[in-house]
């Protein structure tokens, strides 16, 4: 606390007053933030607890924050017939890896060109991309294009292609690359390096922080995508994880049949409610585990985005 040398009672009184204000704010702050934090975490604990509760207890007492009767039955069943789930995992991993690598490379390449100040038409092209966020033909023409004209229904490609570019990521990446001093590329140019080599060998290594951030945003988008599957996937072998979970939440009977195969065993003993919750945990697991480590890259990304508007 800052106090001056002049020790009048007035100063000490304001100091004391200020200290009590500070304490009041601290009390309000800690309580408010703690409630918010609990509010954000609570649903995850509910799901986890429900997935670990014995089915008969759920039917009897409902979902509880603490398992009334602990049981791993839901997970046992999930991993006893893992075919569908593993397939969905495989699809999601393939789509996420391919989509992220390709999307990140393309985004970086596009952004670099737009960041080149000597490229006369960079603003025209920027607007060409940006305009698509202002106006669109709507869902119907886009859907018909993909289904009727490109014939991409029930392909792995339809889960990757529509999300390959995102104008916002191009803008953020472009503003990052614009801040790389031109002197660095100038000297390479004098040495006779072409534009593509400059991009590959100089710009990419220098853009690592932005690449990490945008790459994680792209990966999260692919991992969490269910929309493209909802529209375009009807083949069970191509269902990504989130869409599989969506189907499972809505139609347990169908999934039950799919899990047990045609030579159905005793289907009535399957714990429907806890299984839904266990499936949710399994589908979210990798994100929850990776989250503490990757969180700061997202924060970084938001901060770049916020500053550049």
């Amino acid at each position: 606390m800052r106090t001056t040398g002049i020790n009048t009672s007035n100063v000490t009184m304001t100091t004391r007053k200020r200290q009590s204000d500070r304490q009041l704010l601290a009390v309000i702050g800690y309580i408010f933030l703690m409630i918010l934090a609990v509010f954000c975490i609570f649903p995850f604990l509910l799901i986890l607890s429900s997935s670990l509760t014995e089915e008969s207890k759920i039917i009897e007492d409902g979902f509880q924050l603490i398992p009334t009767a602990f049981s791993l039955e839901a997970y046992r069943i999930l991993f006893e017939f893992p075919d569908q789930m593993m397939k969905a995992y495989g699809v999601t991993i393939a789509v996420t890896v391919l989509g992220t690598l390709l999307g990140l490379f393309m985004t970086a390449m596009t952004s670099y060109v737009l960041a080149r100040k000597d490229f006369k038409w960079r603003n025209h092209f920027s607007f060409f991309f940006f305009f698509t966020t202002l106006f669109s033909g709507g869902l119907v023409p886009w859907y018909l294009l993909i289904v009727n004209y490109l014939d991409l229904k029930d392909t792995l490609l339809v889960l990757i292609l529509p999300m390959l570019f995102n104008v916002f990521y191009i803008i953020v990446m472009k503003s990052f690359m614009s801040s790389i001093p031109e002197a660095i590329t100038e000297s390479a140019k004098i040495d006779g390096a072409g534009d593509f080599r400059i991009f590959l060998q100089l710009i990419i290594p220098l853009s690592k922080p932005a690449l990490a951030t945008i790459g994680l945003f792209i990966a999260l988008g692919y991992w969490n995508d269910w929309y493209n599957a909802l529209l375009f996937i009807s083949n069970d072998n191509l269902m990504p994880l989130q869409y599989y979970l969506y189907k499972m939440l809505g139609n347990m009977d169908g999934i039950r049949r799919a899990m047990l195969g045609s030579g159905a065993v005793v289907t009535t003993s399957i714990p429907t409610e806890s299984l839904k919750m266990a499936m949710t945990i399994v589908a979210t697991g990798p994100i929850l585990i990776a989250y503490p480590f990757i969180q700061r890259y997202f924060v970084q990304g938001l901060t770049i985005g916020a500053v550049k508007g």
């Binding site: 204000d21 954000c40 979902f63 390449m109 698509t132 072409g194 994100i287 969180q295 985005g305």
Partner: protein, 306 residues
């Protein structure tokens, strides 16, 4: 631009143009070509004729969309939800950001921020599973609680009136981390000399928040709000569809333009009307975003989108 200048630029930057080609093709294919498909809004679509061969039917699709009363219902819902989201989310996010900045110790801040940001990372499908866990009539947590305290359980999935509140809370829950971090970044960039000066002048911590921190957030706030207003006719399909799905009982309070367009296309296969509703949304959206951008430009030229 003269011919020589044009070709001169092409030759000079042929590598750059080549590097730009994938993106240009992508946006041509997935954004600009579909724009020509808006003609569907004025057609009676059949698969044999396709987008351009189907017969015209004037404004019939629009007439159907507006006369049924659907247009008004989904437009009202979309706009009202977005207004509620803008107000509630921004107030909560700013409050959380200020309090994180003012009171929290390093560790508390880190842990809280991590907790608040978590919902941002999960898919809307998982949020749907959480909603099911909370709201189910027989086994849902909320009804477990109501029964435990001796109250009647409530049938949330069959009562439209609960949903505006529920959706506002869920939207706030999902967005709080993202927004709080944005505002925290803005607060952190406020010149600390201002705080020091205020302290010397004897300002208490509340005066400091209301006289310095919040006014310094206005530029960020105004831009974010204007941009959000520009998107006021775009509903968050993922949220509405995973919370409500095709549950018609709830449509009076939960149907937004995006879910309506989706259902018309996929469920009821009314392609012409779906295209008309989509076209209506695109035009409305374009107009509001132009208006919002004009407002941003008036307020602060540098922050305008274009």
């Amino acid at each position: 631009m003269n011919r020589h200048g044009f070709w001169g630029e092409v030759v000079k930057h042929k590598t750059l143009l080549l590097m730009l080609t994938p993106a240009v093709l992508f946006f041509l294919l997935f954004a600009y070509i579909p724009m020509t498909g808006i003609v569907l809004a004025f057609k009676q679509f059949n698969y044999a004729g396709g987008v351009f061969g189907s017969p015209w039917n004037g404004l019939d699709n629009f007439r159907f969309f507006f006369d049924s009363g659907d247009a008004w219902r989904v437009t009202r819902n979309t706009a009202l939800y977005n207004i509620a989201f803008i107000i509630v989310n921004n107030v909560l996010q700013i409050a959380a950001a200020i309090l994180l900045f003012e009171v929290a110790g390093k560790w508390f801040r880190k842990i809280t921020q991590t907790a608040l940001f978590l919902p941002y990372f999960i898919s809307w499908v998982v949020v749907g599973a959480i909603a099911y866990n909370l709201f189910n009539y027989d086994v849902g947590t909320i009804n477990v609680f109501l029964r435990a305290v001796g109250m009647e359980p409530i049938d949330i999935y069959n009562t439209a009136a609960y949903w505006p509140l529920i959706l506002v809370i869920i939207s706030a829950w999902k967005a709080i981390g993202y927004g709080t971090i944005m505002y925290l970044a803005a607060i952190t960039s406020i010149d600390t000399e201002m705080y020091e000066a205020a302290e010397i002048d004897g300002a208490n911590v509340f005066q400091r928040i209301f006289k310095i921190t919040i006014p310094n957030l206005y530029p960020t706030l105004i831009i974010l709000i204007l941009l959000a207003i520009g998107n006021i006719f775009r509903g968050d399909f993922g949220m509405f569809y995973n919370m409500v799905g095709n549950n018609g009982i709830l449509f009076s309070t939960t149907d937004v333009i995006d879910t309506y367009v989706f259902r018309s296309l996929i469920t009821s296969n009314e392609i012409g009307m779906s295209a008309a509703a989509g076209f209506y949304q695109s035009v409305l959206g374009f107009a509001t975003i132009m208006l919002a951008n004009w407002a941003v430009r008036k307020y602060d030229k540098d922050r305008a989108l274009f």
